[in-house]
Symmetry: C2
Subunit: 482 residues, 2 copies
Amino acid sequence: MANDPAASLAAAFDPERFRARGHALVDLLADHLAGIAARPVLAWLEPEAQRERFASLLAAGGGEAAFEELARRALEGAIQLHHPRFLGHQVTPPLPVAALAELLTAFLNQSLAVYEMSPAATAIEAAVVRWMAGALRLGERADGLLTSGGSLGNLTALLAARRAYTGHDVWHEGSAGGPRLALLASAEAHYSVSRAARIMGLGREGVVALAGDERLKLRPEALGPALDEASRRGLTVFALVANACSTAAGVYDPLEPLADFCRAKGLWLHVDGAHGAAAALSPRYRALVRGIERADSVVWDAHKMLLQPSLVTGVLFREGARAGETFSQEASYLLGRSAASEPHNLSHRTLECTKPALGLRLYATLLVHGEALLADHVTAAYDRARELAALLEASPDFELALPPESNIVCFRHRPPGLADEEALDAHQERLRRALLERGELYLVQARVRGRLHLRTTLLQPFTRARDLAALLDALRAAAAAI
Amino acid sequence: MANDPAASLAAAFDPERFRARGHALVDLLADHLAGIAARPVLAWLEPEAQRERFASLLAAGGGEAAFEELARRALEGAIQLHHPRFLGHQVTPPLPVAALAELLTAFLNQSLAVYEMSPAATAIEAAVVRWMAGALRLGERADGLLTSGGSLGNLTALLAARRAYTGHDVWHEGSAGGPRLALLASAEAHYSVSRAARIMGLGREGVVALAGDERLKLRPEALGPALDEASRRGLTVFALVANACSTAAGVYDPLEPLADFCRAKGLWLHVDGAHGAAAALSPRYRALVRGIERADSVVWDAHKMLLQPSLVTGVLFREGARAGETFSQEASYLLGRSAASEPHNLSHRTLECTKPALGLRLYATLLVHGEALLADHVTAAYDRARELAALLEASPDFELALPPESNIVCFRHRPPGLADEEALDAHQERLRRALLERGELYLVQARVRGRLHLRTTLLQPFTRARDLAALLDALRAAAAAI
C-alpha cells in the first residue's frame, strides 16, 4: 500500500468498495434493529476493559476487512437506545430516516460557515429554524441557528443576552473594570447555564440561583426580592433563565409571569427548552410552555424529544436580528463585513466556523414522517410518565418525588423499615448499580430536594406498560438480593 | 397515519423500511461518487432561490417516497468536495469509510457525556486521542478530548489556559475586579481566537495581535517587547497562541523559540494546529511543526487534513490532567464529583454535555486504511501546493503571495497594465465571482498583507497537474471576458 500513495488514495475512495461496505453496514444495522429486544440494554464492562478492547483492535492493525469487526464491537459495546427497556438519560433512539440523513450529511460534508460551501444545506437549516420558531409561535420576526448541542446553545443565547445589555459593552470593552454581571436562574437549571456564566467570566456569583416552590418551579414573587438582593450585593442582573423543563425532575417554570417580570425590569428572558420545548408540538401538553413565545431566546435540542441523533440544537430568537449580532468579527478569508449584509453566511451566527448540515436529519424527518409523528411521540411519552407515576403511587414500597409534568420521573424505592435518609440514598445507588451491571434495564439517578432518587426519562417509543411493571419488579428483586 | 400514533411510530422504526431506504441511499451515493467528474463543482443558485427550493419541498408535504427526492436535491445543491476541481476552503472530501462510520454513529446515538451511555464510544475516543497525542509526540502524560470543531477547541484550550493562570481565579471569582487578561497572538490567527477572547470577556484588547515577518511568521524577538508594552497598557498576558499553520496564507509560526519564550515567561503556549498539525504525520513536512510537542495545548481538526467529515477536533494537553480541570462543576443527574475520580465520564472535559461519538470515523479510518494513507495524503497535498507555486512563478501574469509552506496557496492575477492596488483587489474579486457562477472550478479569496488574493487549499486527493493548469486557464479566460 505504501508503495503507491496515489493508488491507495484512489482505492480508499473507490465507489464500488463504498457500495459494498455500505450495503453490508445497512444490513448489519437493520438486523440489529430487528433483534434489539433479545439483547441486553447494556452489556456492562468496566471502563478499563472496554478501553483495552478498542486499543488492542487498533494496535493489531486492521485492513479492509476490519470495518465490519469494528461495527460489531461498536454495536456490542453500545447502550441500546432502541431497546424498550432503555429508561435512562434524555438521549433518544434516533429514527432510522434521521440516521440515514446523517450518512448523506457526512458524505457531502457541507460546511455551513458560508453559503458557497453549503447551498442546499443552508436552505435546509433555514427551513428547520423556521419550523422550530413556528412551533414555538415566536412570530414573524423570529430567526435563529442550529448548533452543536444545548450547552453551546445556552452559551450562544447568553452571549446574545450579554450583547443586548446596554450598560457595558463587554464584547468590545471586556469585563474587567465593568459591572459584575449576573443571571437569575432556577436552582434547577442545567449545569451548562452556570458553565456558560463561568466561561463568560462571571464567576460563581454570576448565577443567582433561586430555590423553587414545593414543585421545584421558579416562584415569580421571589424574583423582585432576588433582584434587589443581587443589586445590594453589587451584581448587575442582565438576564433570567427559565427551565422548560428542568433536567433533574423535568419541571416547567411558569413562563408567562416570568415574561411579565422580565419586561417590567428590562431583563432578557432565556428559556432553556432543550428537552421540554417539544411540548409545544403536543395539543395535550402545549399549555406547559405557555409564554415561551415571549422569550428573547429559546434553546431546543432536537436530539432529546424529536427522535434525532445528536447533536442538533436550535437557538431561536424572537427578534431574529439578534441571531447575527451575538458574534461580530472580520475574517477576510471567509466572511463579508456584517451578518445583516449576508444573512446566508451562517458562521456570523454560530460559535462554530465549519459546521455540518445539522438540520438535514430533522428536515428529512419532517418531510418523510411529518410533524404529526413527533407530536404523537411527545404526547405518548408524556402520557407514559403519568402511567408510571400512577403505578408508583399505587405501590407502597415506592415513593414518587413529584407528579411528573414532562416525561421525566424521579422516585425512590422505600423498603419497609428503611427510614434514615442517608441510608435511603445509599439504597437507591445500590439498586441502580445492580440494574446497571445486570443490563436488562437501564435507568439513572438524580438528587431531588437534596436526596438521591432513581430517575427515568420515558422517551423510548417502544416502552409499554409491561416494561414499566418490569422496572418496579427489577428494583424489588435487586433490593431483595442486597 | 394520525389515526394510530403507536402504529405510525412502529412503522417509522421498521427495520425493513430502514434496510430498503438504506440500500437505495448507498446506491445513490456510490453512483454520485462514480460520476463526480462529470458534474459541476458547484451548480450556482442565489441564496433566495435555493431557500425557496427547500421551503417549497417541505411545504408540499412528503411522505415515504420523499426521502429520495430530498437526497437528490441535497446532492444537486451541494458543493462537490470530491470533485478534482474543488480548490476552495479547508474542508475535506470525506473518505467513504468515514462517512459510513457516521451512519453507525448516528444510528447508535451514544452520548459521550458519561461512560454508561457510550461504553465502546468512550473507549474509541480514548484511542483516537492517544493516537493524535502520539502523532504530535506530546509524551506519556498527554491526554485530551474530542470536540465539535476548531472554534470550540480553541475556546476550550484557552479556558484551560485561563484556569491554569494562578494570578486570579476567574472561573470562581469572575473577571470583574480582576486583572485585564490578554493573549499574545499572531495577527494571522484564526478569528475564533479573538472570538474566544471576547466570549471570555477579555474584549477587543484581550488579544494582542503581533505582525509577522515578511513571511507572516511570528517573530520571536518581538515577543518580549510586546509583553512589556502590554504590561505598560495594564494588561496581564497569560497565554501565547501560535499558528500551525495560519488560515489565510497557511504559514507556520516557529514553535521552538515560542516555546522557549513561554517557558521563560511562565506563559501557556497554545498551538492552533487545526489545519496544519497534520504535517506531523508526513516525514517530508514534519519539521514544520517542530516544537509542537512542547505546547501546553494543541487544537487539531480531523475534518481538515485527515479526510474526515466535520466536526471532529482534538484538543490535546501535554499535561493530560489539564483536560479534566477546564470545567469543574456538579450535576447530580449526571456526574460524580471530579474528573480525576471518573476519567471515563468525558463531559468533565468538554463544553458539550451530550456529545456524539466523534472519534468513530477517525478510528475506522485508521483501522481500515492505516495511518500511512493519511501521511501520504498530507505529503501529496503539500507537494501539490509547491507544484502550483512553481506554475504560478513561471507565469508572468500571476503573482504568488508567498512560497507555500502548507497546502494553502495565495496568489493574484496581474494582467499587464493593471497596477493600481484597489483595482487589482477588485479584479481578483471579479475573477472569483466569475468562476463561482460558472461552477467548473471553485476557489476562494483572502487578504494577504492587506491586499485581496485568490486562495486555494489543495486537499483534494484527485486534483492533478492538469487541474492546476486548468485553474490558471480559467482565470485567464475569465479575465479576458471581463
